[in-house]
Symmetry: C3
Subunit: 326 residues, 3 copies
């Protein structure tokens, strides 16, 4: 899939990429053309990828990428078809390469391609309120409703039978059918990703999207950040209450129920049929299994197995929590 | 009181209601007309009510409703004037009946009756900013101020001396005198109520309102959902800080002080003169007594007696919390 | 510094100030003119100040103010150049005096001086979206970007190279260079300050500002309240994620990283290079030292020393938290 939202300024020859990351090591295929930067799973032989944590050694071992930015201690996990590029800081190098491919993905200035809906062909096609702005190349399906003051930025795709509330901002997002986005949501902004750096942090490019699957609902005032290099995904028939915060790269499964003010840190995976009580927090880079129930106010800081019921800060087995708090 | 916001499509004969919930049991007064569906307390002899938890057996025993959807194990609490209708799932049957009476209460599409304030008689009557939208049948008292980009949807009633901020959305709400609603609030949206159902959850009709009493203040970016079948109420002289979430049917008393980012799950009751510290969470269906003080960050998961000071997750006696955390 | 946002209705003779607070005690310099009310540190000999807690005895002992509202038990900390004015409730008296100097600082009605940006000289000077409102005397530097529907109220000052998102509201705020304010923020509203009073709370005047230093970023949907009598400050190169709440008078240092949904109660001080995980809460009037790391979900209720790593509710040493929660 080509990136639907950010213009790819590639391809670049691999020797150009070595320049970008200040890598002077010897290079065999210096004119090999790299078309995109993708994660270990999505890469093809035309792409460069990155591998920075042993946690991903399984997917690393079968990546189809031709090149991979990684470290000396991780390179042996890669298949023979993938040439390791050894760097000191994988994520910083990744950031520099991504910025070269997608220079527009770093800042999130307002969309200057928007027009008032009355001047677009959506004026007749959708039920809509006042003062709505629609960007270039937006697609909206049949039988949709869009509330007052809402901004749908360029290239956003919305399916059929969707209801978008008032004061909503959507960018870098694909919304499937029968989805409800309630008032005041901000969907698809850049994630909170950067390299801390005294006096001037280095912003990390955020080239992923937000994907909201069929039949889901997003409560008022929620914020869902787009992915950095993979996508942020809300599964089918998953309902979110008000004031929920979902960071970049989070993937939430199908049929989940998430109560108000829950927060998800970056890159966590929530499986199917998960229920989460109000104000719970889910740490970054963890996995919550299927049919898990998480009590309100819990702080989940490690993986949770399928069918578990947990509560507490840190979250533990529910029966244990109740016993300890009699 | 007739419902001020949703059109009642009744009355229905009781035999029609039996059809709606697929109930084939024998029926005496099959042509008896039912005018509305109300909770146990508000029902009159013209109404149908529902009773799904032993917790409500006291009010059930004195309900004036002629019919009550309930279960076999609860029916004996009802007075002889009230005929029980035995169902498997009280709330699901309630949902189907409510939907029949109030079909417009399920989705929350934008109000298409709004006009720019300049085209209404509020243009002269209120101090107001730019780009304000006012729905049909809105009432606004004397000496009110309304900020820029604010949307006041149809039938909303606002008293005297109120200050409504900018970027506010209000629907299905009655606001009394001298109330401050700060910027970016969303007041009166449907609550987070539905029956989980694989592939396509069944939305629960939300026919209640939000009632905000005299002299109260609602902080920036707060969300207050309207009641499902009863109302969501904010008492007199109660002040809420920013980013507070109040779910459907919550009732907060008079003279309460609620700090930032506090969340209330559905149907909880907070009595008078209650103080709640920042980020505390109040579980659903519990009661917090008068003059209770709840420390910041607490998770309140059971009823709290009058005059208590509590803190912790779960919340316990404050002295005990301090002792255990020395 | 004169207050940039609220008109000072002074000077008042000291005998007038005694009247305002109903103080009948004998008075030597009754015609001495007081030009402003300031905190202990900022006061000059032309100002009146206040001193209500032993915690501030060090700064009290070197204040340059000529008069100080305080209590009998604290007055001996003041230098001989500062005449104590003994009152029962320092903060209530402070409130009355502040209201006399700055009567416009109590309510936060919308700014009625705004014009559409197309009718201002910023139309050409800044990149900007649609439906933007700009108040009187606003200053905006070079190379700034302002998103759709944003409101910049009177007297706000914005530096160079700033990016202001869409649906943002800014008032009573000074923003330095290279600052990013993302979508839906409300910056500079009055803090949550009042004296609880049965039936009708007494609002406390909020005459401070918000100051956001160079290179900082404020995430979507965050709220930053202006100071009451001192200022709310966000330091240089400090990045805030989405849905953060910062109460009045909070001071956050340089190079801090604050994750989503964190809340800060009033008057807390966060030093430099502090990292705070998601959903943590910081109590009021405490100090967090340099290079402190605070785990997600923590509740910080006392001062934290430099270089500490803490987690938990209440927050404790991180190793202890991990040990106790194995």
């Amino acid at each position: 899939m080509t990136n639907p939202f950010f213009k790819n300024h590639g391809p670049f020859k691999i020797k150009k990429i070595f320049d970008i990351i200040n890598n002077n090591s010897q290079l065999k295929k210096e004119n090999y053309k790299i078309y995109d930067i993708k994660d270990l799973t999505l890469s093809t032989s035309k792409d460069i990828t990155f591998f920075h944590s042993k946690k991903y050694s399984n997917v690393a071992s079968i990546t189809k990428a031709s090149f991979c930015i990684t470290t000396d201690s991780l390179k042996h996990f890669l298949p023979p078809t993938c040439s390791p590029i050894i760097v000191e800081n994988v994520l910083l190098s990744l950031s520099l390469i991504t910025k070269a491919f997608y220079p527009d993905s770093i800042n999130d200035d307002f969309d200057n391609t928007v027009k008032e809906i009355a001047k677009t062909n959506f004026n007749k096609k959708t039920r809509h309120g006042n003062n709505i702005l629609i960007g270039k190349n937006v697609k909206i399906g049949k039988n949709c409703s869009i509330g007052h003051n809402t901004i749908i930025e360029k290239n956003v795709i919305i399916g059929n039978n969707c209801s978008i509330g008032s004061n909503v901002i959507i960018r870098n997002t694909i919304i499937k059918d029968n989805v409800f986005i309630l008032d005041g949501c901000v969907i698809g902004k850049k994630g909170f990703g950067f390299f801390p750096n005294n006096k001037l942090n280095i912003r990390y490019p955020q080239i992923g999207i937000v994907l909201i699957e069929d039949n889901s609902e997003i409560g008022c005032g929620s914020t869902i950040d787009r992915g950095s290099i993979s996508n942020t995904v809300i599964g089918k028939n998953t309902f979110l209450d008000n004031q929920i915060h979902i960071a970049h790269n989070v993937k939430i499964g199908n049929n989940c129920i998430i109560a108000g003010q829950v927060g998800f840190a970056g890159s966590s995976i929530i499986s199917d049929n998960v229920m989460i009580g109000g104000q719970a927090g889910i740490s970054g880079h963890i996995k919550v299994g299927n049919k898990v129930q998480i009590g309100g106010g819990s702080g989940v800081i490690k993986d949770i197995e399928d069918n578990s019921k947990v509560m507490g800060y840190p979250a533990k087995d529910l029966r244990q929590f109740i016993k300890q708090n009699k």
